[in-house]
Symmetry: C2
Subunit: 170 residues, 2 copies
DNA sequence: GTGGCAGTACTCGGATAACCTTTGTCCGAGTCTAAACGG
DNA sequence: CCGTTTAGACTCGGACAAAGGTTATCCGAGTACTGCCAC
């Protein structure tokens, strides 16, 4: 049950983007610089967020990313799903229908395999927790828990690097 | 959050092994034949179960696998961990400590990153559900939910292929 | 007839390759800015 | 001085490699059975 590395980056970026104003924007290269991440690969993750409608993008000079909707309406699950895809983690291959003890009658298998049911229920519990945490929660938690000095450094950095725009053309 | 395919196989095998007597044994090749799985690769999964102490093994003629302890004392989580390893699915790379806004003072980071805390809590919820289901539960569920014809086929198959042993030397 | 012994067949165990997903990179399409030019 | 045009620079977007992990395989180590042989 490995979680892709890009998930961490994407969540951090969303949490940071939650701190900028509605018609402000941060370029991907700038975000990569802040976190010391490979710019091109981070761009790939942000692109996934863009496709899913979590962030809006603007091209050209003074372009960049911003959240597409209020931070309180974006959950951690949204971001994880955007990066990792919608499919379930556990794929039932219907082992019970193979081999000599299988029955050729489809009616004999009205329900999913019991093992799959339990695995999926566990995944649901996992997803439920992620769905209960919004980006706004993350931002608030960060503001409270993070060292005050770092908080100020980040605020300054954002103030310097943010791009102001009249309106998104997204 | 992808779950390895071998997990499914391992759980099926354990559920089946729960149905045999305490001093009976099933060879890996026979299990592979039942489920139509690649024998060598299934052996690798079973080996992982053996290393973790979930199954006992006996070599030589009339050798094979059996559960190392009562089915009610083996959880799905035990099996998943045996196959996938102990490490967490989400690895926090401490992004907050990198880049220009990081602080060089270790004391500034008394707690884990908030994002990691939430991701790990979700994983804990996932693990808690898997830990609440034992192999005995799976076996009982299968006995109830599976089509009666298949149940009989499996019972017959086990009766034919099981190896009886005086005692495990493992 | 019986006990010991060696050969054999069958098991698991660990080292070794193939494939696929994840990770990482690059260059092109699009767009806004701004400067230059003409009126 | 002002409007238009055009060149440029900066952005994201999608196609293209490299690496690591999962999937799959093979051969060797170990063990119990079986048949043979000597006593």
């Amino acid at each position: 049950m490995r979680v892709a590395a890009g998930v961490e980056w994407a969540i951090h970026c969303c949490s940071l983007l939650a701190g900028i104003d509605d018609h402000e924007v941060l370029p991907g290269a700038t975000l990569a610089e802040l976190y010391e991440l490979p710019p091109a690969y981070l761009a790939k993750q942000l692109q996934a967020l863009s496709v899913t409608g979590i962030v809006d993008t603007t091209r050209g000079p003074a372009g960049g990313y911003r959240l597409a909707r209020p931070a309180a309406e974006i959950t951690m699950l949204d971001i994880v799903r955007a990066i990792e895809g919608e499919g379930r983690g556990f794929r039932c291959t219907e082992i019970r229908r193979r081999g000599q003890t299988a029955i050729d009658d489809d009616g004999a298998y009205p329900e999913p395999c019991g093992i799959a049911q339990h695995m999926w229920k566990a995944e649901d519990a996992w997803a439920a927790h992620l769905a209960s945490v919004t980006v706004a929660d993350l931002q608030r938690g960060a503001a409270e828990a993070v060292d005050r000095r770092q908080r100020e450094l980040i605020d300054d950095w954002v103030a310097v690097n943010v791009r102001r725009r009249e309106r998104m053309t997204g």
